[in-house]
Point group: C2
Chain length 227, copies 2
DNA sequence: AGTTGTGAACTTATTCACAGCC
DNA sequence: GGCTGTGAATAAGTTCACAACT
């Protein structure tokens, strides 16, 4: 799938065009790369020059061979007997993920969730920035939030000139497809979707969906019957 | 793995105790059950009495045989030549997920994200309700938001008497483990975690993690090099 | 001794193909 | 004719085990 599900959200229809890649890299390995980055950041704060797959495993609870294999898909970054250079590996991973240079995102929908996303402090460490905001509420349009001016959602095409490559959809399900169409028309090729709706987009566009309610909804399944 | 990752967020250490189940049901099938419910709701609104795996496939973009196999892990709910009874299948799935009766959740952390989650309208259709809120900010404690009184996070143990079985963590990474410990001590056995941190919890506790920044961070990887 | 990188073995998940039922 | 349920085949992902390197 195309990750229209929830985080791992895996894939039935593969939006990503794999034909272009030489080696076959598992989606799951890509999914874990940002985690490795998080682990490396923690090690860096601890002042560690080098880090082993075992050390990362402790922090992230991913098995050491898994970590080594994932990294090996992209190259040989470590030194036998020593481990990985903390800073160098982080740099390599950022390069692979293409977050070594800043990535700008447009947020569509400034409701409760959209506002929270706009203020979310976690994007910075991945070189991500929300640099445009759209809504359809006349009361919100024109206002400035976090140094970003709220624009009318009908003017999504204005994105083209701004070097914005990512879109975040935080609108109700009923509006999500129209917003996705607008984003695609504006040249966006990557969408993070919070609406509980399957987005029909061209194959070249990658969609990752997060459905908060769905994730909470499968928790009861795992609860012991007694509780 | 234990889903401490991001939505699919999949799992490294398997928190779920599989030994107790007779048949082996793929985690992935469970992950898709709420999607089927969403599709069935749409069909129900369309007034369809019956629905085929093909029809659901159109709505959700999950292949028909996948849908049939997933459902078959739990029983034979369909009628050959006809399909599934929309209402009955929805009821079955709610039973499997144990959301046929209401599930109460405690939200910890009333920052931007926590506030958005509290107001999130999507939980109702899965019979989920946030019926307790905790924070450590004296300014917030004592206030009432959405009919729920904000309590001091140090009083998590009060949960025990309230019939609350789920926890939602929306605090900074640095506080997440302490909150998780508190929730576990209060008897919670299912946690939805928004903090970018691996939560160390007993095996009997199921953790599903959502890391928004991480999900956005792997989008650039899939962008065409030119863009 | 300690650690990486990786082919091979294994496990898990998806898709196919079709018998059987309505 | 249309659709389910499912064993068998395929594909994807994980873990193991160990040679090679520092």
């Amino acid at each position: 799938m195309n990750e229209n599900a929830s985080t791992k959200q895996k894939a039935e229809v593969d939006v990503e065009d794999r034909r272009m890649r030489y080696r076959r890299i598992p989606d799951e390995a890509v999914r874990r790369l940002p985690m490795y980055l998080r682990g490396l950041l923690l090690c860096s704060e601890e002042g560690l020059q080098n880090v082993s797959s075992h050390k990362l495993s402790e922090l992230l609870h991913i098995n050491p061979p898994q970590i080594r294999k994932d990294l090996s898909y992209f190259g040989a970054f470590g030194t036998p007997g020593v481990g990985y250079d903390t800073a160098k590996l982080a740099k390599q991973i950022r390069g692979i993920l293409k977050i070594d240079t800043p990535n700008k995102a447009a947020l569509v929908g400034l409701g409760n969730l959209g506002s929270a996303i706009l203020k979310y402090p976690g994007f910075g460490s991945y070189n991500l920035e929300i640099s445009a905001v759209f809504d359809n509420d006349p009361v919100k349009i024109g206002k400035t939030v976090r140094d970003v001016k709220v624009e009318d959602v009908s003017k999504l095409s204005a994105l083209k000139k701004k070097g914005i490559t990512l879109g975040i959809i935080a609108v109700p399900a009923s509006a999500a497809q129209a917003v996705a169409d607008g984003l695609v028309k504006a040249g966006i090729r990557g969408i993070l979707n919070f609406a509980p709706y399957y987005l029909d987009v061209p194959r070249k566009v990658k969609v990752i969906s997060i459905d908060i309610a769905m994730d909470l909804a499968r928790l009861p399944y795992y609860l012991p019957a007694s509780a």
